[in-house]
Symmetry: C2
Subunit: 150 residues, 2 copies
DNA sequence: CTTTAGCGCGCAACTCGATTGCAATTCATT
DNA sequence: AATGAATTGCAATCGAGTTGCGCGCTAAAG
């Protein structure tokens, strides 16, 4: 594992909050000169600690009104059926996350759609067409009081 | 809702992939001159579609070896007990997401820790000390085959 | 049909930040 | 104390960011 000191941690924290602040400002905030700060950032990128940067988009402004976490259980647990399911999920733009999890079911998915009708459509016409799906439990997100993941 | 045309969508898509590419490169990719492209980005920011930018950090490089999604049910559903729970969760650095969801339980949390022992510690010493927590169901993430959320 | 107004765009000039080479400083080891 | 390695700061250069101005296109009004 790469050695991360306190200044690196500060840099990571700052870039988690605002990845497009100028390097000059970032350097000020972590107490380095701009060039030393930039080299730190470059090293964090090169070593793979920082894997990229992304825009944070307010999906509700784009019409996303409904976020759903759902668990999916499969009736067949062969490698082939798992892979077929994951391939289908990879093709579904509504699904923004797919995790293989421990427990009574195989997957936890995060789905983002415009409204509950669109979710029903997804549920019926996407999930409903996949072979080996034996259980689906949906949880609509009413509020996200914490979202600090980066 | 702000009007988003196809070029705006292209911009959003590109900035979801690499938010620190130069504006010159972004402009090339969406087929505008750099200044027109920049104004589009500025407008997407001003209007709140883009709420910010963040670094994507590979947590496993920082020692995070264990991601857990867990559902939490409360025994009391008063406003006061809900708020107390959320305040406690806001103070727990291991919890990176907290969603209020429909269904038999109240919350879905995402927790990131170094290893399963650290999760047990969190489970016992953080969750275990909170009043009104009546059920906890943990799912360890074994793999995330899709993660396109932005 | 013509004219006008509004919107989005491109061009170009200026400013400032990004980047990198070199030298200095600091820290750790012998 | 000396040496080597790692980190940092300085400064110069280049390129990108930013913005004002004018142009072109489209739609609406006369």
């Amino acid at each position: 594992m790469t050695t991360i000191d306190r200044i690196d941690q500060r840099i990571l924290h700052e870039l988690s909050r605002d990845a497009r602040q100028t390097n000059v400002k970032l350097a000020e905030q972590v107490g380095l000169s701009p060039s030393a700060c930039l080299r730190r950032v470059q090293e964090l990128e090169r070593s793979g600690v920082i894997t990229g940067y992304k825009a944070v988009i307010d999906r509700s402004r784009l019409g996303i009104g409904c976020v759903v976490y759902l668990t999916v259980g499969l009736s067949k647990h062969t490698k082939a059926s798992l892979e077929a399911f994951e391939r289908a999920i990879a093709e579904a733009p509504e699904v923004v996350e797919c995790h293989t999890i421990t427990g009574a079911v195989e997957y936890l998915l995060r789905v983002e759609v415009t409204d509950i009708g669109a979710y029903k459509d997804f549920h019926t016409n996407v999930l409903g067409t996949l072979p080996h799906v034996s259980s689906i439990t949906s949880h609509i997100v009413m509020d996200s009081s914490k979202s600090t993941r980066s």
